[in-house]
């Protein structure tokens, strides 16, 4: 039980990822697939943010008492690692772009076939 509680954010990330994965595989509606894809990508963001955590009360890397001239020494252990957050900014941009392309393609199909169900589109193609 401790094993689960101590690392609950990782468990949540895996659960979310599998929910997204399931939606992508099993759902017939294209919008639901897109939502699943987004959940999948968001789970990865949660994972990356989790790995920046440090034990021992580390906080956000906002340096209030730092000297602009570099006189103050920064103790790294006091602050969370900001790099994964920065990476995730890029990953969010990527996932929004992917979402945009996916929705655009879905709209293209809706205009052509007047449905968003995958099996009906398949029938309309053949």
């Amino acid at each position: 039980m401790d094993f689960i509680i101590a690392k609950y954010n990782y468990w949540i990330y895996i659960t979310l990822m599998m929910i997204g994965f399931y939606a992508m595989i099993a759902k017939n509606n294209l919008i639901k697939k897109i939502i699943g894809m987004n959940i999948f990508q968001t789970a990865i963001i949660l994972f990356f943010v989790s790995i920046s955590y440090k034990r021992g009360g580390a906080t956000l890397p906002i340096l209030t008492d730092a000297d602009a001239h570099g006189g103050h020494v920064i103790d790294v252990a006091q602050y969370l690692n900001p790099l994964p957050h920065v990476l995730m900014l890029t990953a969010i941009v990527v996932s929004i772009a992917t979402l945009g392309v996916a929705l655009a393609i879905a709209i293209m199909m809706y205009r052509k076939y007047h449905t968003l169900e995958e099996d009906e589109i398949l029938k309309a193609i053949k």
Partner: protein, 498 residues
């Protein structure tokens, strides 16, 4: 000055021209075509300069903005990427020259945005190949993929659904890659490929590293359409516009093979990928299955482009299997085959585009009595087909030869059998086409649209399509003739020390 900055210019020229393409098109629509060619010409020149520098002075380290490696992003160019850069820019340039008439016929009102996406796609490929930073690689992978989805979606009926499926699977692949990056970052705190390669050997016992490696390999296998994960490929490449197919089909899978080589032999040491884990064994059998299934499925196709897609799947099996054999000769063959396969697939899809342009369809029946009608196109096609089959003076023979030699040295007869089987199937596939092409069966070709007198009149493809196809055919012969010097000056440096 220019020579020093050439590595970054390769990517920047493409990216900036992509952004500027809608503006150019807004000024005058016809300017887009020369604009794209100009941009790719610049990029090609830079990559040739870079290849030349690498050959004479060794590995180039380019630091973006002057930041030192662990903090800043670094471009590292050794023989393997320099070769890939020239291949990518060169084939993109040829396809751009080729694109004009085909686009006018297939997408008359969307040329401006097509060219924008086209350049973005090339930017993505170039960035993947040139970068020395694992996260940067992810971003470029997504740029290339997103541009690819959009390009494919503009194709014929059914293309949007194919692109959508590709998008879903491609996103899963890229996300797996990103997860692999995350796991590596968790234990090493670094994203720089060279630094990671130094830190990782101390951690090879760790489970986190194994998970990261597994995520990398599965993600990349999805991107390169290794057999059980190939389902997105045939539909996407068949239904894409001919030009998009000719750009994406040769490059996307090969770039993914490049990422696999990097992950296995640069990021991780060869002894980790080959001795510590049974990865190469899995890759070997995956490659063998891919070859068999790709060849068998290709036999069953009635559509020319679709048949080519399954040949691409079989060829991916060659390269993966070659890496799986895991000795110097086989890996040399696999890397040479990366080069050859870019050229051969480009040739095949270029011919498919010409057929689609002239005959308005891509069924195998479109080849009825085609030798009389389009003698030049078919001459180029013959060269490409012989190379795919693997007949000596063409380049396809030599990479296959090294692959077979390597697997005989490793005592792996199943892979030898798979390679020979696939060659035989390719003989059947292409000679079937050549037979229909030579003889006039009198059946109504091209859906009966052509009357009888028209069938024997020479009506060649336009020169803008024919010249790039001929350049490809010439390249196939030249790579074949000079393969010895290509191997000693470039490829032997790219083969990992085992």
């Amino acid at each position: 000055m220019i020579v020093e900055q050439a590595p970054v210019l390769i990517v920047v020229i493409c990216l900036m021209s992509a952004v500027a393409t809608p503006l150019v098109g807004w000024l005058k629509r016809e300017l887009c075509y020369p604009w794209v060619i100009l941009a790719l010409l610049g990029s090609t020149l830079c990559s040739v300069v870079v290849l030349n520098t690498v050959m004479h002075e060794g590995v180039i380290h380019y630091r973006l903005g002057g930041w030192l490696p662990p903090w800043g992003i670094e471009y590292v160019i050794d023989h393997l990427n320099a070769m890939m850069l020239v291949l990518i820019t060169g084939s993109a340039l040829l396809v751009a020259i080729y694109s004009k008439r085909s686009l006018e016929a297939e997408l008359p009102d969307r040329t401006i945005f097509f060219y924008t996406l086209y350049l973005l796609q090339v930017t993505g490929f170039l960035g993947i190949v040139i970068t020395g930073d694992v996260f940067n690689l992810y971003v470029f992978l997504e740029i290339a993929s997103l541009a690819g989805y959009a390009l494919i979606a503009t194709g014929e009926d059914g293309a949007p659904l194919a692109a959508f499926r590709y998008l879903i699977l491609g996103t899963v692949g890229a996300c797996f890659y990103l997860l692999g990056v995350g796991y590596l970052y968790m234990v090493t705190g670094s994203l720089n490929l060279a630094e990671l390669a130094e830190i990782l050997p101390r951690l090879y016992g760790s489970k986190v590293i194994l998970v990261a490696f597994a995520f990398f390999m599965v993600g990349i296998a999805l991107k390169m359409a290794l057999f059980p994960l190939h389902l997105w490929l045939p539909d996407a490449y068949t239904k894409a516009p001919s030009v998009a197919g000719a750009l994406i089909a040769p490059l996307m899978t090969k770039v993914a093979v490049y990422i696999m080589l990097r992950v296995m032999f640069t990021l991780f040491r060869p002894y980790f990928s080959i001795e510590l884990l049974p990865v190469t064994k899995i890759l070997l059998y995956a490659g063998i299955i891919a070859i068999f299934m790709g060849a068998i499925m290709a036999l069953a196709q009635k559509n020319f482009k679709r048949m080519l897609c399954y040949i691409v799947i079989a060829e991916v099996g060659y390269m993966v299997g070659g890496v799986g054999v895991a000795n110097t000769v086989a890996i040399r063959g696999a890397i040479l085959h990366v080069m050859n396969d870019v050229v051969m697939t480009l040739g095949l899809f270029a011919v498919a585009g010409i057929i689609a342009y002239k005959m308005k369809n891509n069924e195998l029946t479109a080849f009825d009595a085609i030798f009389k009608k389009m003698p030049f196109t078919m001459a180029a096609f013959l060269v490409v087909a012989l190379s795919v089959i693997g007949v000596p003076p063409t380049c396809g023979f030599f990479s296959k030869w090294y692959l077979i030699q390597g697997s005989i040295m490793a005592g792996n007869w199943i892979f030898v059998g798979a390679l020979l089987f696939s060659s035989l199937v390719n003989v059947i596939l292409f000679f079937r086409i050549i037979e229909t092409g030579y003889y006039d069966f009198g059946a109504s070709g091209a859906g009966g649209a052509h009357s009888h007198d028209e069938r024997s009149v020479v009506s060649e493809a336009p020169l803008s399509m024919l010249i790039p196809t001929f350049v490809v055919a010439a390249a196939i012969l030249l790579i074949g003739l000079y393969n010895q010097s290509i191997i000693t000056t470039i490829i032997d440096f790219a083969v990992p020390k085992l």
